[in-house]
Assembly symmetry: C2
Homo-oligomer: 340 residues x 2
Amino acid sequence: MARVTLKDVAEYAGVDVSTASRALSTDRSNLVNPVTRQRVTQAAEQLGYRGNLQASALRRGRTRTIGVIVADLSNPFIGPVLRGISQGLDGRRLLPIMTESRDSSETLDRVCDMLLAQRVDGVICTAGRASDRATLRQVALETPTVLAIRRWPTSKITNVSHNDFDGGRLAADHLLSLGHTEVAQLLGPQDIGSFEDRTNGFARRMADAGVECLNIEGDVHLPTFDAGRDLMQKLLDRTNGSRPTAVFAQNDSMAVGAMHLAAERGLNCPRDLSIVGYNDAPLTAHLTPALSTIKLPGYEAGRIAAELVVSLIEEPEQSPSSVMLAPALVIRESTTTYSP
Amino acid sequence: MARVTLKDVAEYAGVDVSTASRALSTDRSNLVNPVTRQRVTQAAEQLGYRGNLQASALRRGRTRTIGVIVADLSNPFIGPVLRGISQGLDGRRLLPIMTESRDSSETLDRVCDMLLAQRVDGVICTAGRASDRATLRQVALETPTVLAIRRWPTSKITNVSHNDFDGGRLAADHLLSLGHTEVAQLLGPQDIGSFEDRTNGFARRMADAGVECLNIEGDVHLPTFDAGRDLMQKLLDRTNGSRPTAVFAQNDSMAVGAMHLAAERGLNCPRDLSIVGYNDAPLTAHLTPALSTIKLPGYEAGRIAAELVVSLIEEPEQSPSSVMLAPALVIRESTTTYSP
DNA sequence: TTGTATGCGTTATCAT
DNA sequence: ATGATAACGCATACAA
């Protein structure tokens, strides 16, 4: 266990701890005689000295850690985001402390507490639902905070998200351009801003085109494969009205679930039913049919989130900014032109 | 910013900081008069006091953080593992500091340094290749360390991994039971113990059955879709010998890549060629054909890793243990009986 | 049961 | 250019 302290190094080098501290620091090492500095550096090396960031943190009031809150670590979409965060922070020699809220308000509360107790220099939160606004506002009051991935109605807190309104619009545009006029969307949890935006973007575009759009909503807490199945079933089981020829599922898992149920009902995708997903999850390109979907720059969002906390830390009094990243349509095989 | 300290609380409650400290602590709060304790607790509440774990850490020599090293955060397989780690640590009120080695030795070195400088109470490393042994041994010398997911030849360090030897054997068994006698395996990076084991497990089982098994190896640093394609191409381009009727790809991405190249060559899977993957990645069940694969309990591995560091921390002098988790064969549609 | 005093390992201020 | 010293916020050994 690295029990060698600065004091040991100083004694070994025959200088005072304060000198040793200066010599070893990056920004004040020029205040010390090159020869002395060399001696200290060597002493440190020989003793295997390793600075104690805890002590340093206590003294300087900076821990060099950033709290990161994620809803579900096993959601494949979050991987690239974490990558972006990790690499963005790494450049500043900041370390992410990772926590999972499991989409539960109590857990979110708890992890926020732990993070603040650790005196993280900032927080990046990619989790939280409408009901968690108060909690996050409190956190933002105590430490530089950026809300990432999920869009929030509040503009009081710095926010980086994808433009899901545009995403919904892209999906709608795509289906419209294929000639579909009977469409539906399978809704994800609407208490998450990003899903709400998809809903509105899609619906708005359809309305603008004079096309009626069916919103199929269920008791969807999580947008899973099963949720997709259930909503598709609900859609097909409607007795009134004609069957839509195209469906927008608000994420890829739901799209795959929907595809499965449709197949069970003897509907061929895309011949009988076009389906467009959201997120461009891994392997969606290799499904049969390959899934048309909306691609989001997760890695970039992570990187930007990291840069935003950093700038917030360095300049605490700046007004909250808000950046939105553009989604892109990926056309594959699950969507095709409407043929009566 | 929570600048209220224990001293503030003590003054507010009219007691000494030491008393306040005791009153607020979990284990020594019984040493203080219930009335006093109540007063302190109330004072803390009213002032919005939040313990400073940094200061506490410096004093007690425990940071309540665990360093976690991952090779690639965007690998979907790592998600459940992180979940397991996160939840396992959460129970002990430990916080994971997450780092990514990007499968680079220099980066691994760097993050280990940062982690040790943070004085993490322990390290869980799921990354590293054969060439990183020295680095990890050094880390294990300085702090309780568990090597997870990837198997290591050394038994000096506590290790939790999947039994990939058995995994390879399961794949082999499956293909043998289907009657295949011309088989090949597409090798992942052999400087990672887990892949080496798959190779040997598969080969051994085949040898025991008296079946010759082709090992297709390339310059595979990462087991990706493209690597799978390339190795499959290499396999099919061999001029000598007959074409195998079954292939074991050492992970799912490679399997999908292999499937694609086979299709391009006019080979139908599974009719002309059975393919078995490894990992049971998300969506593999929904491919066409659905991928037969080996399923690994990633979440459990994460949880166990967490429990192992904890026990290592609590009892530093224990001898290193080693736990192996059983893989399971998942039979789907990409494998079928050999028909001449 | 409570208070006093000290130190954890740094960094920063002030002298020298 | 370097050294002495205090402080960061907390926990503990010891005294009362």
